[in-house]
């Protein structure tokens, strides 16, 4: 049993990602979308906490359309995977519940 978390806020302006990460557990998935895509940057203020969670077994994705629009060709945190809109749908189906952080 695992949760999908969706995150659409920039970590440079909001503490929403920090709140989300305190509830994430190994096996959960985190999908960064809209301004949440900025959290994938290697310079993200939550980098350390996010990298730690990914190493522990959190699956982290960023919606590629949102990423490409905002931070095309920038250095990203290691272990973050790209997701298409279809992948988004699959993620929702694969998890028992979705918490939308916005």
């Amino acid at each position: 049993m695992s949760l999908l978390h969706t995150m659409n806020k920039s970590p440079f302006q909001h503490g929403t990602l920090r709140d989300c990460l305190t509830l994430c557990s190994p096996g959960d998935a985190l999908l960064l979308l809209e301004d949440g895509a900025y959290a994938a940057l290697a310079s993200s203020p939550c980098r350390e906490a996010l990298q730690h969670q990914i190493n522990d077994g959190l699956s982290c994705y960023v919606l590629s359309a949102d990423l490409n629009a905002r931070i095309h060709k920038q250095t990203l945190i290691e272990g973050i995977e790209l997701a298409s809109d279809a992948d988004f749908v699959d993620l929702v189906l694969q998890h028992s519940s979705t918490q939308s952080w916005y």
Binding site: L3, T16, D19, T22, L23, S97, T98, Q99, S100
Partner: protein, 135 residues
């Protein structure tokens, strides 16, 4: 179509589906209409006899403060409406302990009798739902 399928469809028609739904409130009450919208959705869901739980976390715990004097900002006070939730048979009400502590509210009287949950219990609550509606 087999009889069995027809029976299933008929029984679905006659009996509304009861779902285990969690409403999460993460936003402070008056900066946007999110808190009020969520409360309206919650009351609507209660009219359909759903199995409802409510969780206040993050800045959402500010919705639970007593004596919100909101008339001067032309907004309806949430502290007037929230205590009515048990009347709508909504009595599984929870609040995130770490959010209360972070805001220095752990010893405050709240407008609702909410069960205080640590972060692990918050996760467990989310996991046992059929749907989570985030406000």
């Amino acid at each position: 179509m087999t009889d069995n399928n027809e029976n299933q469809i008929n029984s679905r028609k006659n009996k509304p589906v009861k779902k285990k739904l969690l409403f999460t409130f993460r936003h402070a009450p008056y900066g946007s209409s999110i808190a009020r919208d969520g409360l309206d959705a919650l009351l609507a869901a209660s009219a359909y006899g759903q199995d409802l739980s409510v969780l206040f976390m993050g800045d959402g715990v500010f919705q639970l403060l007593t004596d919100q004097q909101s008339s001067d900002i032309s907004a309806k006070s949430l502290s007037a409406t929230l205590p009515a939730l048990p009347i709508y048979d909504i009595d599984q009400i929870y609040v995130q302990e770490s959010a209360l502590i972070e805001r220095g509210l752990q010893n405050q009287t709240l407008v609702l009798d909410a069960q205080v949950l640590n972060d692990q219990a918050v996760r467990a609550l989310m996991l046992k739902q059929e749907g989570v509606l985030s406000f």
